[in-house]
Symmetry: C2
Subunit: 484 residues, 2 copies
């Protein structure tokens, strides 16, 4: 109905009825276009939450925490206890309740420490200023504020402070200015400082309790899942890449997506860093004790990125070559595919090792097999002219001259595969260090269980949605494992 009316609405333009009709059409097209875009956008937003319901839960947690904290206002006895400063509790909840438990604890502890230190300092400054007499009061408070604010701001440039106490330094400046300045107006500065500290403690306690007890999102666990996922992505990329080149597998959309998994590995430095930084604030949870060696995951991440860089070069070399198959490629094919598969299975085994937090009894064998296969490949490469020279006896004497570009192309791919094997070994070392530092269990009859798990937590990295589903699946599995 409205649509019909809309079509009749016309703009008078000089070019006559044709253009009018076109304008109407395009307006409707424009609206329809916008509407469909809006629908898509809303659906996309909705899928963010559907793919990871923990995000929905986090929103409800924030709403709940805020509603609880406003009780301090609504319930009169509580209000009289803490006074008008209950506003700080509200503010604390808004600012400190973060998505991960680690971030919440980091902000809470920083907020409490910053507030206490600044409160005490502001109190001392106020006391000194009071003793000095009214004419010096402003000068002393002002100078202290200037010096301390500048010093605290500078401390935020120091890398170690930035990593651990950046928020605390900001809260220090904030509290110090507020208490020092309010102290000039409000005669009783001590109760103000105490009230602010107590409301901040109430707010942060509420945040920490909510973030730890209700569907907690552990930064450590996220890091752990990210590293496991990246190992699997690397394995898929490596195998897919080698298989596609040696034509063991035809390229289709799905395999191409798998192949591109290494790009996620290359780009995950920032999230790894921030999560490792937050994870150290978290208490023991699940299989992770308090001082779990989170930094080791960063080292593993760095070795993975080196491996991914090499895969990137390999993909580049593969795409740049002209696509005629040759004898040498066929000759190298079987063993190269074997090396690719062996390295991929080493990477998968590393993922399983971390997943089960159990030292693998297969890993050593797999690494040896991978190295043997790489050695074999190396030897075939070395002896290639000899193999080729045998053809001299054959009637096709013209074939003696080796087609150099083909040798170089295949040789480059093979050299890169061998280099990748060396870098996979670095990852193995990193994971072994982790298994020592984190005291992974040794395998005793675990092989059955690990096998079962590895099939259960089989991750399919087809697209982002499935990827996120897989993450949640791992998380659920990990939680179940922790319970049993």
């Amino acid at each position: 109905m409205t649509e019909d009316k809309g079509v009749e609405w016309r703009i008078k333009v000089e070019d006559g009825p044709w253009k009018t009709a076109v304008t109407c059409c395009s307006i409707w097209e424009f609206i329809a276009n916008r509407y469909s875009k809006l629908c898509k956008f809303i659906k996309k937003i909705w899928m963010i939450g559907v793919n990871d319901p923990r995000k929905f839960i986090h929103c409800l947690k924030v709403g709940m925490a805020l509603t609880i904290v406003t009780l301090f206002y609504y319930l009169k006895p509580l209000y009289n206890g803490v006074g008008g400063n209950a506003i700080w509790a509200v503010m604390t909840v808004v600012v400190a309740l973060e998505y991960t438990a680690g971030a919440t604890i980091y902000k809470s502890i920083n907020r409490i420490c910053g507030t206490i230190v600044a409160g005490l300092l502001a109190f001392s400054v106020h006391w000194v200023a009071n003793k000095a007499g009214e004419q010096f009061e402003i000068v002393i408070v002002g100078a202290a504020l200037f010096i301390l604010a500048s010093a605290a701001t500078f401390s935020r440039f120091i890398p170690t402070v930035k990593a651990r106490f950046d928020y605390g330094a900001m809260i220090f400046i904030l509290t110090f200015s507020l208490v020092a300045v309010s102290g000039y107006r409000i005669d009783e500065v001590f109760p103000l400082a105490i009230q602010r500290i107590s409301t901040v403690i109430i707010g942060t306690s509420l945040c920490i309790i909510i973030s730890i007890t209700i569907c907690p999102v552990w930064a450590g666990l996220e890091l752990y899942v990210l590293v496991i996922g990246n190992l699997d992505k690397l394995a898929n990329s490596l195998q897919g890449c080698v298989d596609q080149y040696f034509e063991a597998q035809t390229a289709n959309e799905e395999s191409n997506k798998k192949l591109m998994g290494y790009k996620c590995v290359l780009n995950s430095k920032a999230s790894e860093d921030s999560m490792a930084n937050l994870a150290r604030w978290e208490p023991a949870h699940g299989n992770f004790h308090f001082r779990h060696p989170w930094k080791q995951y960063l080292k593993i991440g760095a070795t993975m990125r080196r491996c991914a860089a090499c895969i990137d070069a390999l993909v580049g070399c593969i795409h740049s070559e002209n696509k005629k198959s040759d004898d040498m490629k066929k000759l190298m094919s079987t063993i190269s595919i074997k090396v690719g598969a062996k390295s991929a299975s080493v990477l998968s085994e590393l993922a399983i090792t971390i997943k089960n937090m159990t030292k693998s009894n297969k890993l050593e064998i797999l690494v040896t097999e991978m190295n043997n296969a790489a050695e074999e490949l190396h030897n075939i490469l070395k002896s290639y002219p000899n193999i080729n020279n045998k053809n001299e006896a054959s009637p096709e004497a013209a074939k003696i001259e080796i087609p150099m570009m083909e040798i170089i192309q295949v040789g480059t791919v093979v050299s890169l595969i061998i280099e990748i094997v060396a870098r996979v070994e670095d990852i193995v070392k990193g994971v072994e260090e982790l298994s020592d530092l984190a005291k992974f269990k040794s395998t005793k009859g675990m092989s059955h269980k690990s096998k079962q798990n590895s099939t259960d937590i089989k991750i399919s990295f087809n697209d982002q949605q499935k990827d996120e589903e897989a993450t949640i699946k791992i998380l659920q599995m990990t939680h179940n494992n922790q319970r049993t």
Copy 2:
């Protein structure tokens, strides 16, 4: 003196005087050790500021802004004007005055918008709740708080909102809770909302004025300098790497450091992203107009990282090979070094192009030369067996069998160099797009000036300190250029 006394202080232990002396010694050693560590730490911190004096200046700016804002408290007329809510101005200055102008503007605008929207909404909710009667008031305010806080928290998970309005969403929740909740206590909610908004505007204006006028640190300029520096690092790494392999240059500490410059390129994604994000909030400054295509720098950064990944693979292959020189390497040496030098000069020319914001008239020639050199290298590689086969006529008939591993090793290095050339071309495309988007000037008699600049801003990437000095030098040069 104190030292003497300290030595005489003894702990009685069962093992007699020997152990006592040792304990004293080790305590002194411990203290001396700690003291020297502390000194080193303090020196390190001091050097952070000395290497980049803008950090010192930023601290003074924060101190100054806070001192100015406290005038609202100290000066009675102003105090009476804005009332006790002047506390929000202090808080705004502490929170919104960031190191870069972009971050300050981002936070200020987000804070103002978040506060206004939340203030108006809270006012409406309060009005509705008032009309509904006292028994529903708590329920309506509580429900509105829960729903809006949850929704605003969820919006922070949407990538586009996260990138641009993350802080605004937080301030929205904060202001809404404070005004809605205070509204229940303080009967006049409208003046409260207005006061909060006006103090926030005063605070943010002060922040923006200070961050833009006093030694401004532009996020855009930082990004620009980072990209230029990374191009130079890439050029140095590439040339150093090729030169070292083909023994045109002996490896020493300095050249090794230069060679490792590509690692900075690999790790600079996070800072590039955040700076590009902040740069879009900045007004026109220097040669950058308001809608300068900052996103294009991210694209250039991505192509640079692809190039750096390939250099990483090249470095890996070079280090893994056995170090005997061979005929093939000697044969390839001259032309490979030429390709390395040409690609490096293309990268340097790109850096100069961006530095002068002037389309280079040499770039096309350099790219052609690079491609020709690469083509020549390719041809030598192709014709290598023929060259080698000529030796058949020579008396050393044993040499006919080509040492395969050497061919493969040199071939791999050469293939990677050719792949790097292809990736350098991608960078060239990115920079050309930038020069179109940002409307770089064409060269008309600019070649002299550009030459002069390029020698002036010669950057030596020996170590971090010099690196930072160089950055500041570029910044100074850029500012000077802008003035003239």
